[in-house]
């Protein structure tokens, strides 16, 4: 078994129009810029994207939105240093926004991967965000029922990867990547370094290969912050 894929283009080739795609990262850290750009090149449209943010500048997720590929965004914080692409799309009515508190977003994704269709959280009780959701009292406190969140595909960024799909992450670039890997039917990882089977210490594996359908090596991946300082625009 070898889950290695030669190119980012090949890695995202199967994503159809209308797919729900989770994209890892928090701001620029952990964002799979090269996979997103490959998805732009591939052309899939009418996507629903799950990401903590809404893109920054004109690269990565912002570029995907700028190309008009995203019908709906599920996120917690659609602000950034340069959110102009999202803001313009939003006010033009080209993109729908579903705001989810960050911890609820993370837990819904984790629940999707863990086979938990619903759970209760104190987060957002009594706020507009919880409107219309079931509320239940446990031990005298009110909680909101939240539902799992799953995706057709997850595009994630990892540090090391082996042919079975075992992955590690680099520092805070871990963020949403490991949980999104569990919640998608098909998880595609870009890894900064592909290593041989057995080269990753079993104690250090953060995402076991069972969650990964394919991985492709992208050495020296672009960092969103640096692309934005260089005023990069994709494509």
């Amino acid at each position: 078994m070898d889950k290695t894929i030669q190119t980012t283009a090949e890695a995202v080739a199967q994503i159809p129009d209308g797919a729900t795609v989770m994209i890892g990262g928090f701001g620029g850290s952990g964002a799979p810029i090269e996979l997103i750009h490959a998805l732009i090149d591939q052309g899939a449209k009418h996507l629903t994207v799950v990401n903590n943010n809404a893109g920054n500048g004109h690269v990565g997720l912002a570029a995907l939105i700028e190309q008009g590929r995203v019908d709906k965004l599920i996120c917690s914080f659609p602000r950034s240093a340069d959110p102009s692409v999202f803001v313009e799309s939003y006010w033009a009515g080209k993109i729908k926004l579903d705001i989810v508190p960050q911890g609820t977003l993370a837990e819904r994704i984790r629940a999707g991967g863990a086979g938990i269709p619903a759970f209760y959280t104190p987060t957002a009780f009594g706020t507009d965000v919880a409107k219309g959701k079931p509320v239940e009292v446990f031990e005298g406190r009110s909680y909101v029922q939240e539902r799992w969140l799953k995706a057709d595909f997850a595009l994630i960024k990892a540090d090391l990867g082996d042919p079975h799909g075992n992955l590690t992450y680099r520092m805070a670039a871990r963020n949403f990547n490991p949980i999104m890997a569990t919640a998608a039917m098909t998880t595609i990882a870009q890894v900064s370094q592909l290593v041989g089977l057995g080269a990753i210490d079993p104690e250090r594996v953060i995402t076991p290969g069972i969650f990964v359908a394919g991985l492709t090596e992208v050495p020296n991946p672009a960092q969103e912050e640096e692309l934005n300082w260089a005023e990069a625009i994709y494509p």
Partner: protein
Amino acid sequence: MIDITDIKLSNAQIAWRAAQDIDDGAYVNLGIGFPEMVARFQAEGKQAIFHTENGVLDFGEAPKPGEEDWDLINAGKKAVTLRPGTSFFHHADSFAMVRGGHLDVAILGAYQVAQNGDLANWSTGKSGIPAVGGAMDLVQSAKRVAVVTDHVTKNGAPKLVDACTLPLTGVGCVTRIYSSLAVIDVDVAGFVLREKISAISTDELQSLTGAPLHANGPVQKLICPKVLA
């Protein structure tokens, strides 16, 4: 009633047959005891990846006696070994893997399997201390749930039944049974006979089975290597 003592498959042969249906790279959980034997009979060129509830993926076979590390065990508390590709995770992550539907196959033992796929394998009823372990999680959530079992109990009673009389492990979960006499699928029609050993007739097999055996396409000969370690 027909005496199947000399014609029935050994546990090793049943395990061998179950192993033939496991794809290369499949993620598999084997129940404690008899089902663990399946790992020994993987088809040539195929390598499954085994999961154990206590937080190990892709572990290897038992170490040599005296070389056990008791921090590296499987759900049956037997020592196992590392392989290239092994990973460790905690119990909640381990069952997130199970419950989230990420396992391709779970193979378990059975006290009874009903024609609607219900499985009873954890409690013999009132007497004895109940012990469920991870079975209830596995049977509800693996993509494919199979059973390896003798076709009848030691007393000759059917283990494939109309409806389970013992406490259930899971409802409508079993899709294939590898018994000591046959391979039987469980689908909306009930028990569907796929393969049987040549030494028994369909009528005889039916007489040892607690619910109707349906046919859906040809019934193949169930042939296993005779001698298995």
